[in-house]
Every structure is written in structure tokens, then in C-alpha cells.
């Protein structure tokens, strides 16, 4: 197997507060290969974005990585600071944020922002950088890029702005893109375009993409594999089709059952009783056990289940088994 672009190993992020230490990310491990889109789903506060920020070194203080590793093409990068980290950002890993309205500087033209990024990372003349910026805009599907490059962000529509943001993240040709809810602020028809664009760039350039979202629809459409997070831990990790149709973790199953499917008519949606625990009150053992209908006494005991200690797909002592698998 070729080396994955990104490997996250037992990553733990902690936030010290006055009332004790919170762990928004607790022992998360996954790999993303070149040309692969890994979807990371979960509710608000499940630690999805925090994982993405930890990878690119953008955790807001006082949050910090306390243990585990982040490897980019095999090199550890979680301990990097200052200039060493800055040289990786943009050049080897890019990030796309949720709101294209606020992630572009309103006072600089799109071309200014592109060329400053290109000049920072690549050894090009100003003129070459500008040509490259035009090419980048062209690639993400901005019509008449040569004419639009000197426009300001407010002169673009929301969807076009997100394309500009993607061009900015990709203009120095990074190997990894972290897309933090890239479609959440856009309307549905534009969402589909942006996802198609991400998929195309991922395939053509062989970029590894970490797609953070709470939208199962986006994951199902875009991702190759999916990681389901719950209370800072991985609940399930596997190929999208398998996780969506044959969830093994009871939480994933509940999540799927609560997602409306148009073809299934007007049935009442199932819901998971209760709510995700707050970070200062994560139960012992499996974090999901108080809400789980399959829970047994072992589930409330430490140590809780992890992907490594269970069956490598779901972090559950008593995963759901499916008839098809039994038949094989």
C-alpha cells in the first residue's frame, strides 16, 4: 500500500479550563490517501472541526495537542511551530472555511490575495504569479477569470466566492485539503456544484481531502470513506456505502435513521433519545452508552471501546451485524 498523505494517530486535544480539563478530541486515528475524500461527520461539538484545526496547527489557545501524532507523508508535523508550520500551510496543506462571505479579506482584490499566497510559497515573478492566479481561478470554474481577477470579493456571488476560496487553498498545490463545512453556508444547488468541484480537483490532482461536515447528504455524495465522531471519539470509520447502508455502531445507525430519505415517503423519523454529553460530563466507558439501546454493563466500564480494540470499523463492544454479512 502506498503511504497515506495524512495519518492521524491517537490524537488527543485538551482545553484546560477553570472547571477541569476538557477533551474535545480523544484518541482519534485515521489515514487519508492521495486522491481520497474522507468525510468527517458528527453533531456540533463532536470534535470534527477541532480535529481539522489540530492537523493544520490552527487550534485557538488554550486548546492544544497533548498526545498522539499527525503525520504528513510520514513526517510528524504536530509539534511544528512558527516558520516551519507556516511553510507547510498553504504549500502542503490548505484549508477551506465554512463561510465564503467572511473568509476573504474585503479590502483586497481576489488577485491580490491569490498572488500574495503564490508568491509566499513558490519562487515566481509577480507576473508569473498573476498568470498562475488566473489559471487557478479558471480551474475552479470562475468564468472570464482574466477579467475578474481584479474584482473585490463583494463583487462575486456566494458560490463564486467559495470557488475563489478553493482556488486560494489550492493555488500553491498542496497535497492535503481540509474543508471545514465548505457547503454549509451555501444554498443547495450551489452546494452540489461545489462538491462536484472538490471531487474533480481531488481526482485530477490527487489531493487528499478531509471533508468536515454535519450533513450526511454531502458525505454520501462526496466522500470515499467516512469517519463518524461522537463526543470527541471515532464511533465508526469505513467506506461510505457500508457505513450509510449497514452501520455497525448504534450511534451511526441512529444518525442514519434520523436522516430523511426522499424515496421513503413521509414516515416519522426515528430519533436518538437524549443529547450528546457535554465535554465536562462524558460518561465512563463508551461515551454513547447512556443513550444506547444495546448497552450492557460492560459498556459503562473503562476502558471504553476503540476501533483498535473492537472490529476496526465500529468502536462498539456489541456492533450491529447485518444479514448479508452473515450470509457470506
Amino acid at each position: 500500500m502506498t503511504q497515506p498523505v495524512l495519518s492521524v494517530r491517537d490524537l488527543v486535544v485538551e482545553i484546560p479550563t477553570r472547571h477541569g480539563i476538557l477533551r474535545p478530541v480523544d484518541g482519534v486515528s485515521y489515514d487519508i490517501a492521495a486522491g481520497e475524500i474522507l468525510g468527517v461527520v458528527g453533531e456540533s461539538g463532536a470534535g470534527k472541526s477541532m480535529t481539522g484545526n489540530a492537523v493544520i496547527g490552527l487550534l485557538d489557545r488554550p486548546a492544544r495537542i497533548v498526545s498522539g501524532q499527525v503525520l504528513l507523508k510520514g513526517e510528524p508535523i504536530h509539534h511544528l511551530k512558527g516558520a516551519a508550520l507556516r511553510k507547510l500551510r498553504g504549500r502542503r496543506m490548505g484549508m477551506i472555511f465554512q463561510d465564503p462571505l467572511t473568509s476573504l479579506n474585503p479590502l483586497l482584490t481576489v488577485g491580490d490575495q491569490l498572488t500574495e499566497t503564490i508568491l509566499e510559497h513558490l519562487d515566481l515573478s509577480v507576473k508569473q504569479a498573476r498568470e498562475r492566479a488566473i489559471a487557478a481561478l479558471d480551474e475552479v470554474g470562475i468564468p472570464a477569470a482574466r477579467q475578474r481577477i481584479d474584482s473585490y470579493p463583494h463583487e462575486f456571488s456566494g458560490g463564486m466566492r467559495q470557488r475563489v476560496v478553493i482556488a486560494l487553498a489550492l493555488c500553491a498545490e498542496p497535497e492535503l485539503i481540509i474543508a471545514d463545512e465548505p457547503t454549509t453556508a451555501l444554498d443547495v444547488s450551489v452546494q452540489a456544484q461545489i462538491i462536484a468541484l472538490l471531487r474533480r480537483l481531488c481526482r485530477e490532482r490527487g489531493v487528499a481531502v478531509m471533508l468536515v461536515t454535519h450533513d450526511m447528504g454531502v458525505i454520501a455524495e462526496a466522500a470515499d470513506r467516512v469517519a463518524v465522531m461522537y463526543a470527541g471519539r471515532l464511533a465508526e470509520l469505513g467506506p461510505v456505502r457500508d457505513v450509510v447502508t449497514q452501520a455497525r455502531h448504534p450511534y451511526t445507525a441512529g444518525l442514519m435513521a434520523s436522516t430523511p430519505v426522499a424515496s421513503q415517503g413521509q414516515k416519522r423519523l426515528r430519533q436518538i433519545p437524549g443529547a450528546m454529553p457535554r465535554l465536562d460530563a462524558v460518561p465512563a466507558g463508551c461515551a454513547f452508552n447512556p443513550r444506547c439501546e444495546r448497552a450492557q454493563s460492560r459498556c459503562a466500564q473503562a476502558p471504553g471501546p476503540t476501533l483498535q480494540t473492537c472490529d476496526d470499523r465500529a468502536a462498539c463492544w456489541f456492533p450491529i451485524t447485518h444479514e448479508q454479512e452473515a450470509a457470506i
Binding site: I56, L58, R86, K87, L88, R89, G90, R91, G94, M95, F97, D99, T102, S103, L104, N105, P106, L107, L108, T109, E116, T117, E120, H121, R148, S151, Y152, H154, E155, F156, S157, M160, V165, L168, A169, A172
Partner: protein, 327 residues
């Protein structure tokens, strides 16, 4: 753009007319200039004759009308006290005030923006805390007290700097400057600090607050995620976005540096228009007071106009007539 400027100029003229009216009507209550001009041994006939000469026996509206008519031609009449053209007196005094205002404005802007950025970037550093604490002094102590304290320390105790006056000045014909002599520069130091300190702390606190606000924005995070240098993030991305509110306040503050130079000029006996105005008030020298007030309002109105035009230069979102693209 042109239509906007014309509209603003028209508004400015209206503002000036109203200011002039208010100022002029106030002067009828400050006292009778005739008393000061004629001294103790006057007869009622003298008083009446002078009153007639100056036109002070006419109704208020007529006086105001005459004032406007003459002011529009740049003629503010003769000073009651000095008997000379008011415009000549003002022109002679103005360089002193403008030089003082220029130096303290530079100090206020440079120091204010510099310290503001420093205290915003090193939010919890020792130097930031020290500067923030000291800035409270600048905000809370009245100007005249700071002036007197500075005089006490640097002129009386240490004897380094002069305590009053402008030092030696060089006459360039139409302008007298203190910038070209050592004593002129030395004389500038204390008054400039006194006048600029309050504005500096105000601008500094404003820049700091705005910077902290902007540094939390998504585009700053995005700039970091793109691997840009801290310097570029702080100055190219963050500072520019703080400038619109900063320019608004700074513009008004620069206006008041000129206007409120009165106190500093009095403390340091600085021969500028502020000191001239204070003397004119004591003597009820109406033409001088009226001309001074009109001059200050022209400056304020002018600065405001410049500030509004600067917005367009800084923020592309306001340039509506530019090329329109998406929707």
C-alpha cells in the same frame, strides 16, 4: 463621485452659515467692547460716536448680514484692540498653531497606531500592560495639568527644555517656522506632547480594540491557513480593515487638536491663534473671535470632507460606480 462631492460642499456651506449665526449671536452677550476700548475717562458722546462707527447701534440681523457679506470676500474687519486687519493678524499667528498641531498630530497618529498595534498583537505582554496602564493617565488627566507637570519636570527641575514661547523662528515671508532652529525645535517638544497625548491615547485604544476585533475574523484565520507571514497578516490584512473607524475618529481629533490648542497655547504662552482667541475674549474683540470661529469651522468641515473621501480610497465596497460584477 463628483455629484457626491458637490452635495457635500453644499452641505458644508450650510453648516458654516449656521455656525456663523450661532457664534455671532453669542457675541452680543459676552460684553460691550466699547467699555474696554475707551477706558475710564469717556463721555457718553464718545461712546455713541464709536458705537455708530462700528455699526454696533444697528439691529443684530443687519450686523450679521454685513459680517457675512464681508466675510465672503475674506474681509473680517479690524481688530478692536489692535486696530489692524483681522485676516492679517490671523495669518501672522496661524503658522505657530499649525506647526504645533502638525507635530502633535503626527505624534498622536504615529504613537497611537504604533502602540495600538503593539498592544493588540502582544495582548498579554508586559509592555502592553504597561502601555495600557500609562494610557489611562493620558485619557484621564486634563491637558493643562499635563502641561504644567511637564514644565515642572523638564523646565524647572531638569532645565532641559524651554517652558514658554516658540524659540527662534525663521521668517520665510509668508510663513514663520520654528522647524529650522534648535531653539524652535526644543520649544516645540513640550507643547506638542501636551497637546498630542490625549489624542494619542484615544487613537491607541481605538486601534487596539479594532485590531483585536479584526484579528478574530475568518479572513485572518484563512490568511494564517494559507501560510502568510505574521507581518503581512497584521499590517496588510488586519490594519487596513481597522482603518475606516480609526480615520473617522482621527479626523475629528485632528480638528480638535487645532481647536483645543487654546489651552496648550495658554499654558505655554505659544504665540498662535488659540492664545490670540483667549486675549480677544478678554477684550471682547468681536471681529477676531468671529473670524477665529469661522476659521475653525472651515477646518472641521474640510477635515470631515477629506475623511469621507478617504473612506472611498480604503473600502472598495463603497465605490458603487466601479465595475459591477456578480450579484
Amino acid at each position: 463621485m463628483l455629484a457626491y462631492i458637490i452635495r457635500r460642499v453644499a452641505q458644508s456651506i450650510l453648516v458654516l452659515l449656521i455656525t456663523g449665526f450661532v457664534a455671532f449671536s453669542m457675541f452680543s452677550f459676552v460684553g460691550d467692547p466699547i467699555e474696554n476700548m475707551l477706558g475710564q475717562e469717556r463721555t457718553q458722546a464718545d461712546v455713541d460716536r464709536l458705537r455708530g462707527q462700528l455699526g454696533l447701534d444697528q439691529p443684530f440681523v443687519v450686523q450679521y448680514g454685513k459680517f457675512l457679506q464681508q466675510a465672503a470676500q475674506g474681509n473680517f474687519g479690524l481688530s478692536y484692540r489692535q486696530g489692524r486687519e483681522v485676516s492679517a493678524i490671523l495669518a501672522e499667528r496661524l503658522p505657530a498653531t499649525l506647526e504645533l498641531a502638525f507635530v502633535s498630530g503626527l505624534l498622536a497618529l504615529g504613537g497611537g497606531i504604533g502602540f495600538g498595534i503593539l498592544t493588540a498583537i502582544r495582548k498579554r505582554g508586559f509592555s502592553s500592560n504597561a502601555i495600557m496602564t500609562l494610557s489611562l493617565v493620558g485619557v484621564s488627566l486634563p491637558t493643562f495639568l499635563i502641561g504644567i507637570l511637564l514644565i515642572f519636570l523638564f523646565s524647572v527641575e531638569l532645565g532641559w527644555l524651554p517652558s514658554f514661547g516658540r524659540g527662534e523662528v525663521v521668517d520665510l515671508g509668508w510663513w514663520t517656522t520654528g522647524f529650522l532652529t534648535v531653539s524652535g525645535l526644543k520649544a516645540l517638544v513640550l507643547p506638542a506632547i501636551t497637546l498630542g497625548l490625549y489624542q494619542m491615547t484615544l487613537i491607541m485604544r481605538l486601534v487596539r480594540t479594532e485590531m483585536l476585533e479584526v484579528l478574530r475574523m475568518d479572513y485572518i484565520r484563512f490568511a494564517r491557513a494559507r501560510g502568510l507571514r505574521e507581518r503581512s497578516i497584521n499590517f496588510r490584512h488586519a490594519l487596513r480593515n481597522t482603518l475606516v473607524p480609526v480615520i473617522t475618529i482621527t479626523g475629528l481629533q485632528l480638528g480638535s487638536i487645532i481647536a483645543f490648542a487654546i489651552i496648550t497655547e495658554t499654558v505655554f504662552q505659544w504665540p498662535g491663534v488659540g492664545l490670540l482667541f483667549i486675549n480677544a475674549v478678554q477684550f471682547v474683540d468681536i471681529p477676531v473671535m468671529a473670524a477665529y470661529l469661522m476659521m475653525i469651522s472651515v477646518m472641521f468641515v474640510g477635515i470631515n470632507l477629506i475623511v469621507d473621501l478617504l473612506y472611498f480610497a480604503i473600502d472598495p465596497r463603497l465605490r458603487v460606480d466601479g465595475k459591477s460584477g456578480g450579484h
